[in-house]
Amino acid sequence: MVYTVALIGNPNVGKSVIFNNLVPGARQHVGNWPGKTVEKKEGKCVHKGTELKIVDLPGTYSLTARAVDELIARNYIVEEKPEVVVHIIDASNIERNLYLTFLLLELEANVVIALNMFDVAKEKGYKIDVKKLSKQLGVSIVPTAATTKEGMKELKDEIVYAAQKKGLVKVKPVITYGEKIEDLIQSIVDIIKDGMLAQKYPPRWLAIKLLEKDEDVLEKIKGSRYQNELMEVIMKAKNVLGDDPELVLADKRYDLISTILATSLVRGAKKWTLTDMLDKVFIHKGLGIPVFIALFWAMFRFAYDASAPFMEIIGLFFEKLAEASAGIPNEVLASLIGDGIFGGLGFILTFIPPIFFLFLGISILEDSGYLARAAFIMDRIMFKLGLHGRSFIPMLLGFGCNIPAMMATRSIEGEKDRLITLLVNPFISCGARLPVYILIAGTFFGSMATTAIWSMYFLGIVVAILLALLLRKTILRGEPAPFIMELPLYKAPTFHGSVIHMWERGVQFLKKAGTYLLAGAIILWFLSTFPWGAEVELSYTGQIGHALAPLFAPLGFDWRIVASLVFALLAKEIAVEALGIIYAVEGETAIGGALLASYNPVIGYTLMAFTLLYIPCVATIGTMKKESGSWKWTIFQLVLTLVVAYVVGLIITGIGALLGYV
């Protein structure tokens, strides 16, 4: 028999590390910030001859129906009924973490607690009486330190034991909420106990959720024969308790946690840790944002300047290959390989070093725990603007790729907050835009290239925040939901870990190069060389570019740029690939020089900004449709991005004209 084991816990307590420890060969992304796991992940392991299916659920603080990731976690436990639920608790923050334990016990789940980060708790001076705590909660507790794999064997032993004993012993509620609440719970249980719902879900849990007016459970009782009777009890609950039952229950849970911990936890004198020291400056009111700006600037400087000679090496390699292909007797084949594959795809591949270097920088910042601070300091600004602070985490994830960033919005409570974050996410500059920035900034801005690239990332953030504000004040009015963000401990990033994370992100670009970009290069070459023998300007690409060029003339874009932007709808890197092919077919080898001869720095900067802001790639559009579940909002996003890109382009062109660039 295969036992199903669900891993659950607050964000950033080490669930993914424990999952990787339990499942042989698992390499789930482990990052030092909350909200990485937005979908459940599965793996298998065998322990003492027992096969276990391990399911890693998204991090969650509670089990309400407000955020998508919370609902995923809750539905899995309620609907799938795993044999064991391993609740991973941050031992150094046990009080807040135990809240979720209470919710799991209400669900009558077969809980085993992994008291993780036990080493960190010890360092903080915590003394936890594990045996006493286990007895008070009525569940097994295993102290663990996932990063050093301490306690993993014991945890597996306990999981197997708990799985095998399930059903043999009836789980009794060890937590009670006082006479008044218990009476209300009992009244509801009495009403529903013979119904269909009580066969499927624990009646006590249903009763508590109904008292809390849980939307999902209220939906389940709609139309049932006892709906009216239940609503009467739910309505009178507020009068009986003197406050909102949800708040009363939350208070009760925290009271119980305090009572339990009073006897099983001894906190030593609070030590001033390295994390406290670093946070004093990293989240400092005055210095937090300048330090954030400095660190990001250093990252872009590293990505751009340190990669330059390596780009040259790859560029020369493809140049030699293109030269060699000129010897192919068949003229069409020679052009396809020389201009299309080596001139187009080869050109885009020269951007591998800066892309990987940027991802290395992001990985180091993420692994160290700094990115969570960046979200925290930006939250101050966003909160003042009436926006949801949690939105900034998906925005930061967008620096890698907008798709996982949009998926990360599932952790945002409140449909409007989530929709706003989804709508503005494509404005955050992903890795795919980087080749465009490097080509243009390197050509037009010389020693200021790093700053020009860096400015794009800030332009993206500023536009995203302003647009979010505009949406909040107009079509998506409302107050942001309250946001509590837990800051993880700082950790020294390891070379091995950061390189793996860089590879995980960078390999997406390589996969794209072998599929989309290769296909794009062949299509682009065909459209740029046919009708065969015609000038590029008269080719199909030229015709597409010329047809749309008048629309973009106010931005200074000619047919070449317009054509490259049209093809870049498939993937943003294709803009560079397209320019490479157009100029290669025209016989230009030094694209930078050709660009310099055709355009001025203002057009270059406008092109960078337009590439950043206009319609996202097809994969992102697909993700928007999936995450929003609406074509209306997907189309709205397409129009919004195009309009914003055009308006920002006009503003840059206008400023350029004032400075004398016409």
């Binding site: 030590k271 001033w272 406290d276 020291m277 670093l278 004093k280 400056v281 990293f282 400092h284 005055g286 210095l287 300048p290 330090v291 700006i293 400095a294 660190l295 600037w297 250093a298 400087r301 590293f302 300047d305 340190a306 990669s307 330059a308 000679p309 390596f310 040259e312 090496i313 020369l316 020693s447 200021m448 790093t450 700053t451 860096w454 400075l659």
Partner: protein, 157 residues
């Protein structure tokens, strides 16, 4: 020895000197690079050379980053003078930022060295002294502070 008044004052003087040095060189980089930044080519001061080596590169944004590092060091001086352990945070983070920029500039220097070894067109006239920026050698002065901030655990008690 714990973080007492004497240690605090010594650390404060040290942070003040390092902070001022970062700030001065940051301002110099901005003033030298201003002409390139605004496109006029006319800066407030001319490039500063020592024995033919450009010791202050024209780099407005690089200068701003040095100013930020300087500001971090200087913000902690008051608390350090009062022997408040919170003041050590500024020495620690200032040193950390200085180290980040030192590493970045050093890696760029090494990468340029690769370009030179391969004799690529843009690197034909490159010499390593071109990349010896204030962000590199100022860190050598900041190194003792960084070492103390990270290793003196008793100061945090």
């Amino acid at each position: 020895m714990g973080f007492n008044k004497n240690v605090g004052k010594t650390i404060a003087v040290y942070s003040f000197v390092i902070g001022i040095l970062y700030a001065i060189f940051g301002i110099l980089e901005i003033l030298v690079g201003w002409g390139d930044f605004v496109g006029t080519g006319v800066s407030f001061i001319q490039p500063i050379e020592l024995a033919g080596v450009n010791v202050v590169p024209p780099d407005v944004f690089g200068g701003i980053m040095l100013l930020i590092i300087g500001a971090v060091y200087l913000t902690g001086v008051r608390e350090q003078t009062k022997a408040e352990r919170e003041g050590l945070s500024f020495l620690l983070v200032g040193s950390l930022l200085a180290a980040v920029f030192f590493m970045v500039y050093l890696v760029i220097m090494l990468a340029n060295g690769v370009g030179y070894v391969f004799q690529f067109e843009d690197w034909l006239e490159w010499i390593w002294l071109d990349d010896l920026r204030p962000g590199i050698w100022l860190f050598l002065l900041a190194l003792p502070g960084a070492y103390l901030a990270f290793t003196k655990k008793e100061w945090r008690e």
